[in-house]
């Protein structure tokens, strides 16, 4: 029995004159991993940021775990504790060490005791393989380590769903694997995930479903094997041709 964790219907978002999302429907079921792919500027980040209201939607409806976020009276801070977000640029709190990064919101928002927060933090640091970095400052960590700490920080809030916005795009190639490894393990543990990524191999292996976005719409949606392996739409085909083979000159240029 699958229950819905994220349900987005008719989502629209404009920045002034520019309409970035023109009516998006997405549904993520419990335990599903949904990957969003698409060209730069197609609105992938905007979609993800709307899911926890970092951007305010211009229209449509977003329901996460039964809570309608687009209801003006919703307690958004409370709702956000159940939605983990991982950013491209990590965004670790630069004045706090790793442990404090993981405990600060647990303490201040969830009102957990210091001891409980630390136990949960240590457990999650272990999950991402960084138990030895408890007392390090963010600036002392590599990009890959910072991103894994950021994942552990989000996990420490016990979210129902994790949002990832190109979590490996800012990383050196040799560090990408560590982060993807952690995400793969999360997926195996049954975490519900909505992932914007350019890592086609990862999407193919881990995603239950893949969405291809372009021009403010979801152009194609389906199992990873189909959308990435045998895309039906011409726009998906040319995008994948460009991504999978950067020297390939698509119809609209690389």
């Amino acid at each position: 029995m699958s229950d819905v964790v994220v349900e987005i219907t008719g989502l629209k978002k404009s920045f002034g004159e520019l309409e970035v999302l023109k009516g998006i429907d997405v549904r993520v079921d419990r335990g599903d991993v949904v990957c969003v792919i698409g060209p730069s500027g197609s609105g992938k980040s905007t979609l993800l940021r709307c899911v926890n209201l970092l951007e305010e939607p211009s229209g449509g409806k977003i329901v996460v775990h039964g809570v309608e976020l687009t209801d003006p009276d919703v307690d958004i801070d409370r709702a956000r504790t159940k939605i983990g977000m991982v950013f491209q640029s990590f965004n670790l709190f630069s004045h706090l060490n790793v442990l404090a990064n993981l405990t600060v919101a647990q303490r201040k928002v969830l009102k957990r005791s210091e001891q409980e927060a630390q136990e949960i933090a240590l457990r999650n640091l272990e999950r991402v393989g960084l138990s030895d970095k408890v007392n390090a400052m963010p600036a002392q960590l590599s990009g890959g380590q910072q991103q894994r700490v950021a994942i552990a920080r989000a996990l420490s809030m016990d979210p129902d769903v994790m949002l990832f916005d190109e979590p490996t795009s800012a990383l050196d190639p040799e560090l990408v694997g560590d982060v993807l490894g952690v995400m793969r393990q999360l997926a195996d543990e049954g975490m519900t995930m909505l992932v914007v990524t350019h890592e086609m191999q990862f999407a193919r292996e881990v995603a239950d479903r893949v969405l291809f976005m372009d021009g403010g719409y979801v152009v194609e949606e389906g199992p990873a094997e189909q959308v990435i392996g045998a895309p039906r739409h011409e726009r998906t085909q040319s995008f994948l041709a460009r991504v999978l083979d950067p020297t390939h000159q698509g119809p609209r240029g690389a």
């Binding site: 970092l54 801070d77 409370r78 965004n91 630069s94 990009g143 800012a170 050196d172």
Partner: protein, 274 residues
């Protein structure tokens, strides 16, 4: 004569140094050093100033400055937050306050609080409260702008991360933004402290008891009783005892935060992939 660009730069530099040497030499040679020594370096008068110049005057200068700075910092933070508030009247109040208190001489503020307030409200502040309110009130206007700049310099991603973890806007400001902003503005704040140290001398306008004298008042008072400018020199040196280490600290902090900025997550992460 054709000089290369580099040679011309050298020639100009040499000319500037030469001019400097001539000016200094002229000043040294034309000054009446005997008069200067008599006026400023009277060892007897200097010796008579101790230990009070330290135990009373220097101590009071530090006390007044610390009070003014503490009050100014707190009020400056409030003003900075009001200035950045989404509530328009808060912004207006902050802007008016900052413009007014930055625009009028601090001396007028001392007079207004010490002599003006009792006339209007029948409240008489003592000199200590007056120096705190006046010095802090003026300092707050400057510090508010510094703090605002610091808050705005905190990367937006830090706030988004805090909000995404469920922190309210106020909670994120207190827990994440303000601590980071203060790291950024520590060097300019140290400079404000130096300025306040000197402005604490404005307390001379109030009627003070001897034990309330700070450096400038103490120096002037000694001056009026002795035919020498030595007290002024001693007072000046005492100011340097406070301000030189602060200047040093400010430069050190600037270097440290400057070095730190390079290694924030944003820049290392994106820099590597570029």
């Amino acid at each position: 004569m054709a000089l290369s660009k580099r040679q011309r730069a050298h020639a100009i530099r040499a000319g500037q140094y030469g001019l400097l040497v001539v000016v200094v030499a002229a000043l040294v040679l034309t000054a009446d050093w005997e008069q200067v020594r008599k006026a400023f370096f009277n060892t007897e008068i200097a010796a008579a100033m101790f230990p009070n110049v330290i135990t009373v005057a220097l101590k009071n200068t530090i006390l007044y400055t610390a009070l003014g700075f503490a009050f100014g910092l707190a009020l400056g933070l409030v003003l900075a937050l009001m200035r950045l508030s989404s509530v328009a009247p808060y912004r207006w109040i902050a802007i008016v306050y900052i413009e007014v208190f930055r625009g009028v001489p601090a001396l007028l503020v001392f007079i207004a609080i010490y002599y003006g307030v009792p006339i209007a409200f029948q409240i008489q502040f003592d000199p200590l409260s007056t120096v705190m309110l006046a010095l802090g009130g003026v300092g707050a206007a400057y510090m508010a702008e510094t703090i605002r700049a610091g808050i705005q310099a905190v990367p937006k991603g830090q706030i988004e991360a805090a909000r995404s973890l469920g922190m309210s806007s106020a909670r994120a400001t207190v827990t994440i933004v303000i601590p980071q902003a203060f790291r950024i503005i520590l060097p300019p704040l140290t400079n404000e402290l130096i300025l306040l140290t000197k402005d604490s001398s404005l307390i001379y306008i109030l009627g003070l008891f001897r034990e309330q004298y700070e450096l400038t008042k103490f120096g002037r008072e000694t001056l009026s009783r002795s035919p020498s400018l030595t007290p002024i020199l001693i007072a000046g040196l005492c100011y340097l005892i406070i301000t030189l280490p602060l200047g040093h600290l400010s430069r050190y902090l600037e270097k440290r935060t400057g070095g730190k900025k390079i290694s924030t997550p944003e820049s290392t992460g994106l820099g590597v992939s570029a």
